[in-house]
């Protein structure tokens, strides 16, 4: 199809798309290049043997030591504990939310997955620090094991709870896909429902457990904030779980709390470690994808073979065990017990938040300095999210406009390949983006720690997800429509303007908003960009210092003076409430946009 629209219209769109391509490449490429450059600079100054064989990682000290082993061992310990608790727990939760025989149990477990996924990791860290670790310590003391205030075990538990909802929802989605795909065929042959789930669907789900665990491992390794709070920061290479350990994420956060501006000795090691983390996460993501292909990941298809979920309600299909009088079945107990930590946490969080709110209204919070900070922090966070969302939306749209329909593939191969690589950047942990942006900002005075730096870091996190979601939305146009339009000799511009862009406009906006809401909880990259001002004012320009709710919550949670706990809980509740509202709004935009779409 050729352009036959007016020259002006064509030129404007071309200008916009080329600008979007250029800006995206710069925004994502400059930080990564700076990261590589700083890390290479650092590596050239130390010996490789030291790096591999030395047993302590103390790069900041007067006589620095660069033994990666302690970092690697610490990260490994925490990740293993996290996989054993959160990974396995997530698989169980996700699987039984589809395979349990009782309808009530399935619904309840499904709801718990939702609760776990909206609970902030900072809140889990708080629960662990204040309640669970002392309890665990008392229990372990009976067995003769001394658990330190910070320990690898605590870190693993914290990270495990952070990765649990991701694992559970992936397993659940896969199992539900399997059910909707095969249940009609199998039930039509006379297999009862529970047999269908436990034989046919289980075989499919178990083939994907490997990739799911790999992705969970990548998330566990990249976790930075929770692990800083509960695992401690001692660089040791021992294997004892009851002692504090230092992980890669904790090192990044801890060093950047000091200073990683140019001239600081911490900069090189931080860049190098971030690069290492990037490589590890990319490797995990790639092997998960390969494993998925090997395991026969079937693409989602929307064929008409789906029995509505009511198929599960026939009593013969579920051989219900007779319920014991006076007690519920163990399945009911397990269903409630699975969500007990989330329930307890939310009750505590809301309780603390209400106490904080009461203190605010009564004026007792003012002595802690928390009172006027809360609205300023929320204001700063609002601008951060607004600017980065707008930037991601505009850039994604520009990138999307570059993409040609399949008939013009040859001409636009570059932008399609670029789009694919940008989407692959999803596997870059947000912490690494933060470090990269810091490495890229040496020449602007005071830029690190400012609103501009924060927007840049968050934009880098958002853009891959935003582009992918936008592409999936716009890509739902069936190829038959393109071919039909081509057959009628219609302009490409007309097809884009009338079919692609006007109907899903809301959907596109909705997907970007939902992506932003999902990314709002990232404290890691913002901490590292230097947004650690603990007293702040509402930012008025891009160079003003930035504070966001996760970072403030991070610090206020550990402060010993009275009142900060409540203020932290209040701030976290407000922030995550806002994230939830945004997500709801994004979903609503998507569904109203979807309704007006003909396909």
């Amino acid at each position: 199809m050729r352009w036959s629209a007016s020259f002006f219209g064509r030129g404007l769109i071309r200008l916009f798309s080329s600008a979007a391509v250029a800006v995206s490449v710069l925004i994502l490429g400059i930080p990564l290049a700076a990261l590589l450059w700083t890390a290479a600079d650092f590596l050239s100054g130390i010996s490789l043997l030291d790096l591999l064989l030395d047993r302590t990682w103390t790069p900041g000290f007067a006589v620095p030591q660069f033994g990666l082993l302690s970092l690697v061992v610490g990260t490994f310990q925490v990740a293993v504990v996290a996989l054993l608790t959160g990974g396995i727990g997530g698989v169980l939760l996700g699987w039984w939310s589809v395979a349990a025989r009782e309808d009530f149990v399935r619904k309840r477990l499904g709801k718990w997955i939702g609760w776990y996924s909206v609970t902030p990791g900072l809140a889990w860290a708080f629960l662990l620090l204040v309640f669970l670790i002392p309890l665990l310590r008392a229990v372990l003391l009976q067995v003769g094991v001394e658990l330190g205030g910070y320990s690898g075990l605590a870190g693993g538990l914290g990270v495990g709870t952070v990765i649990l909802p991701g694992v559970a929802s992936r397993v659940r989605r896969r199992a539900r896909d399997g059910v909707s795909r095969w249940s009609l065929s199998a039930v039509g042959l006379g297999l009862p429902n529970h047999v269908v789930t436990r034989t046919i669907v289980w075989r499919d789900v178990s083939a994907t457990l490997g990739p799911v665990m790999l992705l969970a491992l990548a998330e566990a390794v990249a976790e930075s904030v929770v692990v800083t709070l509960v695992a401690g920061q001692t660089p040791r290479s021992g294997l004892s779980l009851s002692q504090p350990v230092q992980t890669v994420g904790a090192f990044l956060v801890q060093t950047s709390l000091g200073d990683v501006s140019p001239g600081s000795p911490g900069r090189g090691p931080v860049a190098f470690v971030a690069l290492l983390l990037l490589a590890v996460c990319a490797l995990f993501a790639a092997s998960a994808k390969c494993g998925g292909k090997l395991g026969g990941f079937i693409k989602e298809d929307t064929s008409s073979n789906s029995i509505p979920p009511s198929v599960w309600k026939h009593p013969e299909g579920y051989l219900r065990r007779p319920e014991k009088r006076g007690k519920g079945g163990w399945a009911y107990t397990a269903a409630w017990g699975a969500g007990l930590p989330a329930l307890v946490l939310w009750i505590l969080l809301l309780g603390y938040a209400l106490a904080g709110a009461a203190g605010w209204l009564r004026g007792t919070l003012s002595s802690t300095g928390a009172s006027f900070q809360i609205p300023f922090v929320l204001w700063g966070g609002l601008w951060l999210v607004l600017l980065s969302t707008a930037g991601a939306a505009v850039l994604s749209l520009g990138l999307l406009l570059c993409e040609a329909p399949r008939s013009d593939y040859e001409k636009y191969r570059f932008t399609q390949a670029l789009g694919v690589w940008i989407e692959r950047a999803r596997s870059v942990p947000p912490v690494v983006w933060g470090v990269s942006v810091v490495c890229a900002l040496p020449w602007v005075d005071g830029a690190a720690g400012s609103l501009g730096g924060g927007v840049w870091a968050l934009l880098c996190c958002l853009l891959p997800y935003g582009l992918r979601n936008m592409r999936k939305t716009a890509g739902r146009v069936p190829s038959s429509v393109w071919t039909a339009a081509a057959g009628l000799g219609l302009d490409r511009k007309i097809v884009w303007r009338d079919l692609i862009l006007s109907y899903p406009k809301r959907t596109l906006l909705g997907t970007v908003i939902e992506t932003a809401a999902a990314r709002m909880s990232e404290a890691g990259p913002i901490l590292i960009v230097g947004a650690v001002v603990l007293v702040t004012f509402p930012p008025m320009s891009l160079s003003d210092p930035l504070a966001t709710a996760p970072t403030h919550g991070f610090f206020w949670l550990t402060r010993l003076e009275a009142g900060f706990g409540g203020a932290a809980a209040l701030l976290l509740c407000l922030w995550f409430g806002a994230a939830h509202l945004l997500r709801w709004w994004g979903r609503r935009l998507q569904s109203t946009g979807a309704r007006s779409r003909p396909w």
Binding site: R181, S185, G190, T199, R203, I307, P308, S310, K313
Partner: protein, 255 residues
Amino acid sequence: MVTASKAPDILVDELRVHRGKTRILDIDELTFPGGTISVLLGPPGAGKTLLFFCLDRLVEEMEGLKVTGRIRLGDEEISSIEPVTELRRRIAYVPPQAPAFPGTVLQNLCYGLAAQGLSGEEDQRRRIQETLAPVGLWEIFQEWREREATRLGPPDQGLVAIARALVLSPSVLLLDEPVLGMDHSGGRRIEELVRNLEGRMTVLWATRNARQAARVGKYAVFVKSGRVVESGSVSGLFTAPMRRETEDYLLGRNP
């Protein structure tokens, strides 16, 4: 040769299905003779799949549908056959474009056998041979045994789906558009297979393609908008339809 237990008749009596206030299926009386291949012909949305769901009581799993009427399989009422999974084994339903189960072709066939209680390898192999050899599928099965079923092409997956149903030795086989989307040779292969089944079991074949219906079946039923418009032998229906709607459909005329 028709044995009463092996190839029963199906009698549908006053079957009405309501969704809310609207009646979506309305059959006064319909008989499918045992041991023959009957064809259900009709446009999409006519109620062919719904009739199949009524026959094997899958319609009870659907929300919001109210079913009245009686269906008899041979001498028994289907509502009296318990457990319902036993009914569904005897009346096997194969959905359109049925996807292959995960695993090899052998594992696909054994899912149903294991549910029936046949779990030994030898027993399973023997049963598969007993059921597939008479219809000419045994050689193909030997060749495909260890192949990953999901990697097969759509025509082959369709064959596996029918084989899955056949190893359960059903008395009635409900095939819902089994050759949908297949190319000519794949479709012909399935038609041959089903023709081999004549006499061993009652087969109901739902299709939209009148030519295919003429090739495969002995008896035909034309349904439209939830009603049976006309039924009878295939040759009679296609040469001299009695209803105007049947003629319009066969000639491609739309009102």
